[in-house]
Symmetry: D2
Subunit: 207 residues, 4 copies
């Protein structure tokens, strides 16, 4: 009954601090009993997009994409942990996400954004709203912004300020609500007396 | 079992053409057996936002807001029909929507955008993605863009090109899927053995 | 040699606080010796856009638009003081700006954004970047964000924290640089041995 | 007196078509007598951002960054040729641009956007507006959108439809106007009787 979740993180900088926010939310998902995996671009080393996962023959995609696919396909929802580069989404994060598409359909996403400064990376969330929706995983209403991320958590992602426990709880309550709602709907083959399930997925796949 | 839907339209210009797109989608919702109402700013004549509906004592909001509330509150989903003014959302549309907030929570929205030119108003959809999500009614992945709206429909909203029947069908299939999924979830008082329903709504109301 | 500047402000709410930020920047422009006017929607009471200024016969636009035009046309630059409603531009502000177009061409704009909360309204600046550029008055790189605006200034726009003097100085240094640069270029009839001035303005007017 | 311009292009896909649009605009700049260079990510092979050019000791940046710097620093203006991935800026393009910052200051940029479909990639221009402005090179008002780019030009960038000659002429007229205006202003050491030039650049560098 627990959810399968994926946390996407998107910086490969040597001095990256946002990884603390990614670990924090990963831990929080785990504490709530969910099965959760982190997709960290440092680990997967994807090149800049040439071909998407779906453009390869089944089983013929590069190993990094195959491993990502095995995590992404069965997931019930996605948490995107984003910094802000020049007021938009970091390329390493967008590049990770861009390799997949239909695999995200009919599931929710949720945005955690962070910055070294005072505004928590909230400007990146504007571009992410459009991007995640176009990818078929519209983001849930609440966003979890984290200003001065370098001070907000320790290396293992433990918050220095108790308030983050409460904020994460509310944020994940909401993600769970959407993830369960859409999972239920994906199960039932028929809506309004007509068959939806697979059919809808494939028509959307062709959009 | 049918849905209750609201179509928001947002131009008050004397020469407005987008009303054709609003009528088209209204008709399509009706043909599919849904109960659907149009909120047209010309009819409601709201002033620029001073106080939101929720800021009035119950029953004391101006009559136009009361009428809107009676339509918006019981709805299962919202279709937003948007032009594009200077690459963003027309103020008359944003102003209509801004008068409400919690009333939209836990329901989906869907974007129809249009323009007199070739690009179908798709730039307005970027700002709408962020706006609708922040309002608690994240938009479904598909968008229905309508270029040269003045030629796409007649005055009653009948399309001049058959392709719009197919596009609307796919778009509304998707909206229905989300609307039924979230409606089911709103009904069930408990998620993961814990009580969600009302409680979640009110905590989100406080965000 | 001083500049002629216009400050646009965009809230008509009874409890509006952003007017303090507008007064602050107005005072700062004046202190620097510029001729500066405030356009406050409460004073002009424009209805939601029906016809733009340019759509009226010369001299036949409603009095409020005529008065605005007399301020906007001779200006060398524009400061837009924006709140953030549902992560985008307040409709009252967009509606003010939307009534004009060619009148802004070949001049710079600059964004001051504010909020009652911690993020200074920076999300509204994303939609404003696109909007102001499309209006022919691309915004200068620096933005002046003001979090908790209700505490940042007194009623007359005097800052409670000295840091705003320094921030405004840097921001207005930059606006002046662009405003003088573009004013010089508007004066010279010829660029690269070819005639630019009027001609460019009118071709752009037709875009 | 001619300008020094840089065209940034941002796809590394094997089947990329946007390179035709990049070649088209490159040729157009050259025909007008400007010195223009193409920065193509395939040629430079930058990794995902770790350190920016300015974070290296002078002369110690990797060779690809040094070569880019030699082109970017003396330029008078930048043309950004952007596709649209999931309604925002392609990561390969953002990644190229993100390696530099102060090097762009006090100069204009201009957006060419393209897509394989009908909307010309105009949604990417929304994120680009914010991004380029934050980078200190606010984009000029006009955008040059190119729908179905694969049919709009041949391999060498020659347009199949004459209209692109006219569109490019108007677009580059405008870019030139801004590039000359800002170049003049960068030259003059003093604005309003006070010293601007270098000083302004360095204070902005610290923003």
């Amino acid at each position: 009954m627990a959810l399968r979740l994926v946390v996407f993180y998107g910086s490969v900088r040597s001095e990256r601090q946002g990884i603390r926010a990614a670990r924090f939310i990963l831990n929080k998902c785990r504490e709530r009993g969910h099965e959760v995996a982190l997709i960290d671009p440092v680990e997967y080393q994807l090149p800049l997009l040439d071909k998407m996962y779906k453009e390869y023959e089944p089983g013929r995609a590069p190993e990094a994409l195959q491993r990502m696919a095995r995590i992404i396909i069965p997931a019930d929802g996605y948490v995107v942990v984003s910094g802000e580069y020049n007021h938009t989404v970091p390329p390493a994060l967008a590049n990770l996400l861009d390799h997949f598409l239909e695999e995200y359909f009919w599931k929710p996403s949720a945005i955690v954004c962070y910055s070294a400064g005072a505004f928590g990376g909230v400007r990146a969330s504007i571009a992410l709203r459009a991007m995640l929706a176009e990818m078929g995983m519209s983001s849930i209403p609440s966003v979890l912004p984290i200003p001065t991320v370098q001070h907000a958590f320790d290396d293992e992602g433990r918050p220095t300020d108790e308030v983050y426990h409460k904020r994460a709880a509310r944020f994940l309550d909401e993600l769970e609500w959407y993830a369960y709602a859409l999972r239920e709907a994906r199960k039932s083959p028929c809506v309004r007396g007509e068959c939806a399930g697979e059919q809808l997925v494939s028509s959307a796949g062709a959009k």
